[in-house]
Symmetry: C2
Subunit: 537 residues, 2 copies
C-alpha cells in the first residue's frame, strides 16, 4: 500500500515535531476541546501550533478510555495538512488535487480489513460500555453543545439507482449507545438525495459512519465534488492508487479497509428528530432542527483504533484548514478555467472568523473592468451561501492580509462606481436562525431559506496610474535587511509591501532626482527647482 | 521644570530597554530609514519594536556627523508614546488629552535657552558644512525621494491679526543649505491661513522650523486642535505647567526653549516652487506640487543636539502611532459628546496601511438603528478626506482586529439594507495625483479637489437575536487555560472571541441539555428527543 493510514501519518507528524502528546488525564467532556481551542484563539502563531495526542482520556462519568484521542492531526496547521497529503508545498498539494479531480481511481475491494478486527452487533451494542460508549467522543463546545458529536465523521451512503457511493462529512450526535443523529447541513448534500430516493421506495437508508481513515479519504470527504463522483475514487486519485475498501457487516456498502472505526446502520426515512444545537464553523451555535437519525446495526474497529476529533467552531480551526485549499482551488478553476477569466491569479477564501464562505478575495492581473465584474459575479453565484462579500484586488495586494484588502478598498475604489449590491441571496451557513420555527417546518426536510439577504461586490482594482508605493526601493531594503541581520536583530518575516515600486505614475525626471539624492547631490535639484518658481496666486 | 525634554525621555526609554543603540557607521541617505523600516514591515511584533539611536552617522558624500540621529523615539510603539506622555496606560493618556484640550496653559518666556546655545546667521549659513549641512537629515524613501526631508518638523508661524502662534508638523525639503521647502499638506492647515494674510499685506511670512522638542510639544504639534488654539498651550496642558519658550533671533516668534534645533526664516508669499515628491503616510509617493519655501535667516541649536527623524510612510509607522490616540479621542468626543450619540463606546482609526484616515470602526453598545446611521454619517463628515469606509460594530467585536470587522460585516449585515454610499466626497490625503497637471494649477495655492469620490457606511450591528458564539463557555476556557499553563505550552495572548457567550437566542431547555451533557448524561437528552419525533415529509 503506497498511501499512509492514520497511524503512519501520526508517526510522520511526531518525527517532524508536530505532535504534542498529553499523558496526564484529560476529561473529554469538559477539558479536551477547550484546551486545543487555545491553540487557535490564544494568539499562538501558526508555526507553534501542533497536532494533539491525548493518551489518557477520561470523561464526566469518571470512565477511563483505552482508546487515545487525536485532535488537529489532519489539518491542525497548513503544514500538517500538506504532510497528510504527502506534500511539502502548496504547489504540490494543488497538483495532487488537479490530478485527483481529473483522474479519480476507483477503490479496490479486499477480504480482510483492519477496520473489522473487532466487530460488535445486536443487543451487545446497547450494553453499558459498548455501542457508542466504546469511543471517547469529546464534547466540542462544553456549556452549549447538548451531547458529544462526531466531527471527523464521514458518512457513506449510496444512490439506490446508480449504485454510486458518496462520502460526506457531517456531524453525528450521540443520542444513545445505538442511535446517532445526522445533520446533512442543508438540502444540497448528496446524502439527502439518497435519503429522498429511499424514502420514495419506503425504505430506510443504509449508511456507514467512518471515524478516522487514511488521511487522503478524509481530505476527499470534505472536498466539494460533482454529484455522482465517488469521493473514495477521488482519494485514490490523490494517492495515485486505489483505496482499499471492505464490505460492511450489516449494510451493503464498502468502507476504507484501514479506517479506525465504522458505525453501520440505517437512517430512518420515516421519522426525523430534534438534533443539535452544536457549535458550528460559522462561529455561532447551530440551532436545533429536525434531522434524520441512524439506528446502529454494527460497530467495527481496529484493535489499535485511535479516535479522531476535529475542531470545527470559530475559525481558524482544523475544519477550516482542511477545506481551505480545496475550496480555493475549486473557485480558481471555476473562475479562471470554466468562466475563462484569464486575469484571475488566485482566490482567497477568507478566515479567520469569516469561515471561508462569506468573504472571498480575488487577486487579478491587469483585468479589464468588465472582467472584474464578471469575476465578482461568478464568484458570488458559484455556490449557495458562499461569497457574500467579494473583493477584487491587484497582484500587489496580499489577499490573505485583511489590512491590505481594506487598504485596496480605501484607496483604489470609489464606492459609488466600484461597489455593487447583489439582491436575492440566501443567508447560507450562518445565523440568525429561528429554531423556534421548527413547528413551522424550519428543518432539514422542509427547509427553504428565503432569498432576503444580499451580497456586496467590491472592485478594488487600481483604475489609473498611481505614484509608487512610498517605501525605499527594493535594493535599499535588501541591503538594509543584511544590516539588520548583521546587527543580530529579531528574525524578519517581510510583509507586503516591504519595498517601493511604481504603479505607473513616475517619470525620468523624478527618477533622476531620486538618483541624485542618494548620491548626496540634492542641492543640485534644489537649485534647479528654484529656476521653476512661479508667482503665487 | 516638571516635564521631560527629549534627552530625559531618551534616558527613560533606555532604562526601559526600549532604545536600540547602533554604533556602527550608518549612511543616512541610503541605509538608515530602510533599516528602521524593517521594524514595521518585517513581521516584528509590537513588543520587539524599539526606538533607535544612531551614534555614528555618515552620508552619501562620505561625511561624518557629530550629531546622532534618533528614529522612533516619540512613537515607535504605543508604549514609547505612552512614556513620552508620562503615562503607563492608554487611559492615562486619554485623561491627559482631555485635560490639555479643556485647560490649555499658555507658555512662559525665558531669557536664555538651550536651543540657542549655538547660533548661526548671515553668510555663514551658506558655507560648506553649515546651514542645513550641519544636520544629518536622512532620506526617508531612498530611490524615490528627491532630497532629505525633515519629518519631526514643527513649523511655527503666527496669525498677523491675532498674534496667536500655531505649531503644525509638515515636511521640509532640503533645497539648499539655506532654503527649505514646506508642504502644508492642503489648504486646511493653519499656516496656510497665516500665509494668505501676509500675502495680502505684501509681506513674507516669518516662520521657525523646530526639529526635536520636549515630547509634549511634538504630541501637540500633530494633534488637530481648533483654529486659534496655540499648540504650545495644549502642550502646557498636557504636562500641567507652562512650556518654556524663548524669542527667536531673527523672527518675531517664540520657540520651545529646550528644542534641539530651530531653523528661522521667511516663507515667500510672492513665489512658490516645485516641491516633492516625498513618500507620504498614505502609502504612496506624494507627487511634486508647487509649494512655498523658506529662506533661512538663522539656525540655532543645542550644543548636545540630537537630530530627530520620524518614519511616516507606509503604516504602521511612527507618524501613525503618534497621531492615532489623539485622532481616536477627537472622533470619540465628537460622536459621543458633541453629537450626543451615547451608544458610541470607542472609535478605531484603522491602520496598518489604511493610514488612520480612510477606515474608521465605531464600536457601539445596543444602538438604535438611527443612532448607527447618525454615527456613521457624523464620522464620515467630521473631517475632509477622513472616513471613506466607516463600519459600526457591536461591543463584542474588537474594532482593531480586521478579521473580526469583516466577520461582523459578513454575518450581521445585509448589504442592500445596511450599506449606504455617500456621494460628494473628495479623495483627501490619497492618490491618484496628477502632478503633470501642475501647469493647470494643481498646487497648494490653487488646489481644489473635485468631490468625485464617495464613502461607504456599513451598519454591521447585530439586528436580531443570534445564537451563542460557538466556543466553550468561559469557565471551561478558563480552566483549560490553567491546564495549558500546567503543560508548559507557549504563552497565550487571548483573541476575542475566546469563549462562547449568548447573543440573545438561547433558552432554558438548551441550557439544561448542555448542563446534562457536561455531566455525561447526554443519553437522557437523546431519549427525550426520540419522543419528539415527527413524520418526515
Amino acid at each position: 500500500m503506497a498511501y499512509s493510514d492514520l497511524h503512519e501519518h501520526l508517526k510522520t507528524l511526531e518525527a517532524r515535531g508536530l505532535l504534542r502528546r498529553v499523558t496526564q488525564p484529560i476529561n473529554k467532556d469538559t477539558e479536551m476541546h477547550p484546551l486545543v481551542r487555545w491553540q487557535y484563539r490564544g494568539g499562538i502563531p501558526e508555526e507553534e501550533r501542533k497536532a494533539w495526542l491525548f493518551e489518557n482520556v477520561t470523561d464526566a462519568r469518571g470512565r477511563q478510555y483505552k482508546m487515545p484521542v487525536v485532535v488537529g492531526t489532519l489539518a491542525g496547521t497548513k503544514e500538517i495538512y500538506y504532510l497528510g497529503m504527502g506534500c511539502e508545498t502548496i504547489e504540490q498539494v494543488e497538483a495532487k488535487w488537479d490530478r485527483a479531480l481529473a483522474q479519480p481511481i476507483p477503490p479496490v475491494c479486499v477480504e480482510r480489513a483492519a477496520c473489522q478486527e473487532e466487530v460488535h452487533t445486536g443487543d451487545e451494542l446497547k450494553q453499558d460500555g459498548f455501542g457508542m460508549d466504546e469511543f471517547p467522543v469529546p464534547i466540542s463546545t462544553p456549556g452549549f453543545d447538548n451531547a458529544p458529536y462526531t466531527t471527523c465523521s464521514h458518512w457513506i451512503s449510496k444512490d439506490p439507482e446508480t449504485g454510486v457511493q458518496n462520502v460526506g462529512n457531517y456531524r453525528g450526535q450521540l443520542k444513545t449507545r445505538a442511535r446517532v443523529g445526522v445533520f446533512p447541513s442543508g438540502l444540497g448534500q448528496d446524502i439527502y438525495i439518497h435519503w429522498k430516493k429511499m424514502q420514495a421506495q419506503g425504505k430506510a437508508l443504509p449508511a456507514a459512519l467512518v471515524i478516522g481513515a487514511p488521511p487522503a479519504v478524509s481530505y476527499a470527504a470534505v472536498q466539494k465534488v460533482p454529484y455522482g463522483m465517488d469521493e473514495l475514487a477521488v482519494a485514490g486519485g490523490l494517492v495515485g492508487e486505489p483505496i482499499r475498501v471492505v464490505k460492511c457487516k450489516t449494510v451493503d456498502l464498502v468502507v476504507p479497509a484501514e479506517a479506525e472505526i465504522v458505525i453501520e446502520g440505517y437512517i430512518s426515512t420515516e421519522f426525523i428528530e430534534p438534533e443539535g444545537p452544536f457549535g458550528e464553523s460559522h462561529g455561532y451555535m447551530h440551532p436545533r432542527q429536525l434531522n434524520p437519525f441512524m439506528d446502529v446495526t454494527a460497530i467495527t474497529h481496529r484493535r489499535d483504533a485511535v479516535y479522531v476529533s476535529w475542531i470545527s467552531q470559530v475559525t481558524p480551526s482544523e475544519s477550516s484548514v482542511i477545506k481551505k485549499t480545496g475550496y480555493e482551488l475549486m473557485f480558481l478553476r471555476h473562475l479562471r478555467d470554466e468562466c475563462r477569466i484569464k486575469s484571475v491569479l488566485r482566490v482567497e477564501m477568507h478566515e479567520p472568523l469569516t469561515n471561508l464562505r462569506k468573504l472571498i478575495i480575488i487577486q487579478m492581473r491587469r483585468p479589464s473592468e468588465a472582467e472584474v465584474w464578471r469575476a465578482l459575479h461568478a464568484a458570488a453565484s458559484f455556490h449557495p451561501g458562499v461569497g457574500k462579500i467579494v473583493v477584487a484586488v491587484d497582484e500587489d495586494i496580499d489577499p490573505a492580509n485583511e489590512a491590505a484588502v481594506f487598504w485596496a478598498m480605501c484607496y483604489r475604489m470609489k464606492p459609488h462606481r466600484d461597489v455593487q449590491i447583489v439582491l436575492g441571496m440566501e443567508k447560507g451557513h450562518a445565523p440568525p436562525f429561528h429554531y423556534k420555527d421548527r413547528e413551522e417546518g424550519t428543518d432539514v426536510v422542509s427547509y427553504h431559506l428565503p432569498a432576503d439577504d444580499s451580497g456586496m461586490l467590491c472592485n478594488a482594482i487600481q483604475k489609473e496610474p498611481f505614484p509608487p508605493i512610498s517605501l525605499p526601493k527594493r535594493e535599499y531594503m535588501e541591503h538594509a535587511r543584511e544590516l539588520w541581520e548583521e546587527l543580530g536583530l529579531p528574525k524578519l518575516k517581510p510583509e507586503m509591501p516591504w519595498y517601493g515600486y511604481s504603479l505607473g505614475q513616475w517619470d525620468d525626471e523624478l527618477d533622476e532626482e531620486a538618483n541624485l539624492a542618494v548620491q548626496g547631490r540634492y542641492y543640485e535639484t534644489g537649485e534647479k527647482l528654484a529656476t521653476q518658481r512661479v508667482k503665487a496666486k
